[in-house]
C-alpha cells in the first residue's frame, strides 16, 4: 500500500510528479482500489452501461456530422446516412440499437441494486445519483427518438410533450414553450437536437459523481455485509478489469447479433414513414423501455376530486421513477441482500414480473382487458414500494448473516453468488 503507483519509467515519473494521473487511475479502477472479492456477474452491468454510453457517444458524434435538423430534411438525411454515407447504415443501426441496449444493461443494473439492497446506508446518495442518471437517459432517449422525424418520432413527441399540459394553470403555456410554436415543428426538432447532443455530456457529469460516491464506501456485494479488512477484498485491477472485459465481450456478441441480424426488431415499422402532422398512426407506442411508464400513465381513466385523470396519470408516471429516490427510506430492513431475506426475494421477482406485465400492457391498446390489467399492475407497482417494503422491514425475519465475506466464502456458502464464488477459497 506504500504510495500506490510505482514506476521506473522516467517519462511516467515526470508526468506523475506534476499530475498524479496514474495514481489517480490506480486508485479509481486499479490495484489500489480494494473491491469485495465475492462480486458476481451481476456487478458487471455498471461497466457495461459505461461501454454502451461510449458506443452511443462515438457513433452519435459522427451521425451528427451527417444529420440535418430541419423538418424538411431530417428524414431524408437519415435515409442518406443509411444509403450513401460510408458505413452509415452500420453507424446508425449501432446508435439505434445502442439506445435499447443501454437501457437493457441499466435496468439490470438497477434491479441488481434492488435485489441486493445496494441502495441502503451508507450508499443512499450513490443510488439517488443513479436515479438522476436514469432520468437523464430517458430525456436523452426521448429526444433522440424524435430526430429521424418518422411518424412515431413526431407523434411520440407530440403526446409526451402534451403531458405537461396537465399541469394546472401554466400547463398550456409550458407546452407552447417546449414546442416553440403551436405544434411540434421545426423549432421543436431543432431544440431537441441541440439538447440530445448536450445531455450525454451532462450524463457523463452525473456518472462522475455516481462513481465518486461509489468509491467512498466501495461496491456493495452479494452478501450485503461490509468488507471488514484486506481478507475480504481483492484489488480492482487486474481481477475486475479482466472480468469486466470478459463481460464486455459477451455483451458485444449480443449487441452485434441485434445490430447485424435484427436491427429493426426493437423499433417501430411506422417510423420508416416520414412524419405527417395530419395523420396519426393507428397505435402510438413509445420505445419498449418506456412501455411500463406508458401503461401507468394510461391506467388512470377517472378524475379524483379536483384532479383530472390526465394530471393523475402524469403524476403517477413520473412518480413511478421518482419514488426510487426515497427507496432507501421505504425499505428499513437492516439486512441488505435478498439472499438473507426469504420473503423479499420472492416479492422482488413478483415486482419484476409486474414491470414486465406493465410493459406488455403498454404495448397494447388502452382498452379492456388491457386497461384493467394495467390498473392492477399500477396499483401493485406502487404498493410494492409504499406498502410491501415498509411492512417487510418490520415483519420479515431475515436469515442469519455470516460474520464476514471471507468466512462465508470459506464455508462455501452462497449459491446466489454464481460462478465467481467457487474459485474463492483462499483467505
Amino acid at each position: 500500500m506504500s504510495g500506490g503507483f510505482q514506476t521506473n519509467n522516467p517519462v511516467l515519473k515526470w508526468i506523475e510528479y506534476r499530475l498524479p494521473v496514474f495514481s489517480f487511475v490506480d486508485h479509481a479502477v486499479g490495484s489500489q482500489y480494494p473491491t469485495p472479492k465475492n462480486l458476481s456477474y451481476w456487478w458487471n452491468f455498471g461497466s457495461l452501461a459505461g461501454l454502451a454510453l461510449v458506443i452511443l457517444m462515438a457513433t452519435g458524434i459522427v451521425l451528427a456530422m451527417q444529420y440535418t435538423a430541419h423538418v424538411d430534411y431530417a428524414f431524408d438525411s437519415v435515409e442518406r446516412i443509411m444509403r450513401d454515407v460510408n458505413y452509415g447504415w452500420l453507424i446508425r443501426y449501432i446508435h439505434m440499437n445502442g439506445g435499447s441496449f443501454f437501457f437493457i444493461v441499466v435496468y439490470i443494473h438497477v434491479l441488481r441494486g434492488m435485489y441486493y439492497g445496494s441502495y441502503k446506508a451508507p450508499r443512499e446518495l450513490l443510488w439517488m445519483l443513479g436515479v438522476v442518471i436514469l432520468l437523464l437517459m430517458m430525456a436523452t432517449a426521448f429526444m433522440g427518438y424524435v430526430l429521424p422525424w418518422g411518424q412515431m418520432s413526431f407523434w411520440g413527441a407530440k403526446v409526451i410533450t402534451n403531458l405537461f399540459s396537465a399541469i394546472p394553470l401554466v400547463g398550456e403555456d409550458i407546452v407552447i414553450w417546449l414546442w416553440g410554436g403551436f405544434s411540434v415543428d421545426n423549432p421543436t426538432l431543432n431544440r431537441f437536437y441541440a439538447l440530445h447532443y448536450l445531455m450525454p455530456f451532462v450524463l457523463v457529469g452525473a456518472i462522475v459523481f455516481h462513481i465518486w460516491a461509489l468509491h467512498q464506501f466501495g461496491s456493495s456485494n452479494p452478501l450485503g455485509i461490509e468488507t471488514k479488512g484486506p481478507q475480504d477484498t481483492i484489488p480492482f485491477h487486474p481481477y475486475y478489469t479482466v472480468k469486466d472485459l470478459y463481460g464486455m465481450g459477451v455483451f458485444l456478441i449480443f449487441f452485434a447479433a441485434a445490430v447485424f441480424f435484427m436491427p429493426n426488431a426493437m423499433g417501430e415499422a411506422i417510423n420508416y414513414v416520414e412524419a405527417n402532422p395530419l395523420v396519426t398512426p393507428a397505435h402510438i407506442v413509445p420505445e419498449w423501455y418506456f412501455l411500463p411508464y406508458y401503461a401507468i400513465l394510461r391506467s388512470v381513466t377517472f378524475d379524483i376530486w379536483f384532479l383530472s385523470a390526465k394530471l393523475i396519470g402524469v403524476i403517477l408516471m413520473f412518480g413511478s421513477i421518482l419514488i426510487l429516490f426515497i427507496l432507501p427510506w421505504l425499505d428499513r430492513s437492516p439486512v441488505r441482500s435478498s439472499k438473507f431475506r426469504p420473503i423479499h426475494k420472492q416479492l422482488f421477482w413478483v415486482f419484476v414480473a409486474d414491470c414486465i406485465l406493465l410493459g406488455w400492457v403498454g404495448a397494447n391498446p388502452a382498452e379492456p382487458p388491457y386497461l384493467y390489467i394495467g390498473q392492477a399492475g399500477t396499483v401493485y407497482y406502487f404498493a410494492h414500494f409504499l406498502i410491501i417494503l415498509p411492512l417487510l422491514s418490520v415483519m420479515e425475519r431475515p436469515r442469519p448473516l455470516p460474520n464476514s465475506i471471507s468466512e462465508s466464502v470459506l464455508k462455501g456458502g452462497g449459491t446466489a453468488m454464481g460462478a465467481t464464488a467457487k474459485p474463492m477459497e483462499k483467505a
Binding site: 462515438a58 458505413y87 453507424i91 487486474p238
Partner: protein
C-alpha cells in the same frame, strides 16, 4: 494494446506476491494469452473505429455527382465563364489568337512547373481548368473583363499574389504548381462533360 496486455501482466505480477512464481512454462502460456487478448482487442478496436472515420469521407451521392455538362456555344472569343464542378469553380476561357500564341511561345525553362500549353488543352481555343489557386485554395481573379490579370495576362490570385499566364501556369508568386486541369471530354463540338 499489446502494451496494455503487457502492463496487465506486469501489474498482475505485482499482486502475485503471496505465491512463488508459477513454472516457466505456465508463465509463457499466460503471457501468450495476454498478448493474444491485447492484440485481438487492438485489431477489434481499430476495425470498430474505421467505419466512424470512413463515414467522414465523401459519400456515394457526393461521388456520383462528380460530372457536369457545359454548353460552350454562347461563349465568344476572349470571354470567360465559370461553372461549378464538385463545389469548386471551373474556369472556361475561349482564348484569343494572341493569347494562344503567347502561351505556346513560352520557354519551358522559365516555368516553375514546366508544362507545354498543348498538354493543358484539348482544343487550343478552349482553356478549361480548376479556378483554385494551388497555393492555398483561393479563387484567382481574371475571369471578368475588369479583373486584374497579373503580370502575365492570365490570372492573379489576390490572397498571396500568385501570377498565372494565359495557359494557367504559375509564373510568379508562392503557388507551387499550375492551375489544375480537371478531367473533361468534348461530347459535341461545343459541349463538354467535366468529371
Amino acid at each position: 494494446m499489446a502494451a496494455i496486455g503487457r502492463t496487465l501482466g506486469e501489474l498482475k505480477g505485482m499482486t502475485d506476491t503471496a505465491r512463488p512464481a508459477h513454472g516457466a512454462e505456465g508463465e509463457t502460456r499466460r503471457d501468450f494469452l495476454y498478448l493474444l487478448a491485447g492484440g485481438m482487442g487492438a485489431v477489434g478496436t481499430v476495425a470498430a473505429v474505421w467505419p466512424l472515420v470512413d463515414s467522414m469521407n465523401p459519400a456515394a451521392d457526393v461521388l456520383a455527382l462528380a460530372s457536369t455538362e457545359v454548353d460552350l456555344s454562347p461563349v465568344e472569343d476572349g470571354m470567360s465563364i465559370t461553372v461549378t464542378w464538385r463545389g469548386n469553380p471551373v474556369f472556361i476561357r475561349k482564348r484569343t489568337g494572341p493569347e494562344i500564341e503567347e502561351a505556346q511561345a513560352v520557354n519551358l525553362a522559365d516555368l516553375p512547373d514546366p508544362e507545354t500549353d498543348a498538354a493543358r488543352v484539348q482544343k487550343p481555343e478552349w482553356l478549361i481548368m480548376l479556378g483554385v489557386c494551388t497555393h492555398l485554395g483561393c479563387v484567382p481573379k481574371g475571369q471578368k473583363p475588369g479583373d486584374p490579370k497579373g503580370e502575365f495576362g492570365g490570372w492573379f490570385c489576390p490572397c498571396h499574389g500568385s501570377h498565372y499566364d494565359t495557359s494557367g501556369r504559375i509564373r510568379k508568386g508562392p503557388a507551387p504548381t499550375n492551375l489544375e486541369i480537371p478531367p473533361y471530354e468534348f461530347i459535341e463540338d461545343t459541349m463538354i462533360r467535366i468529371g
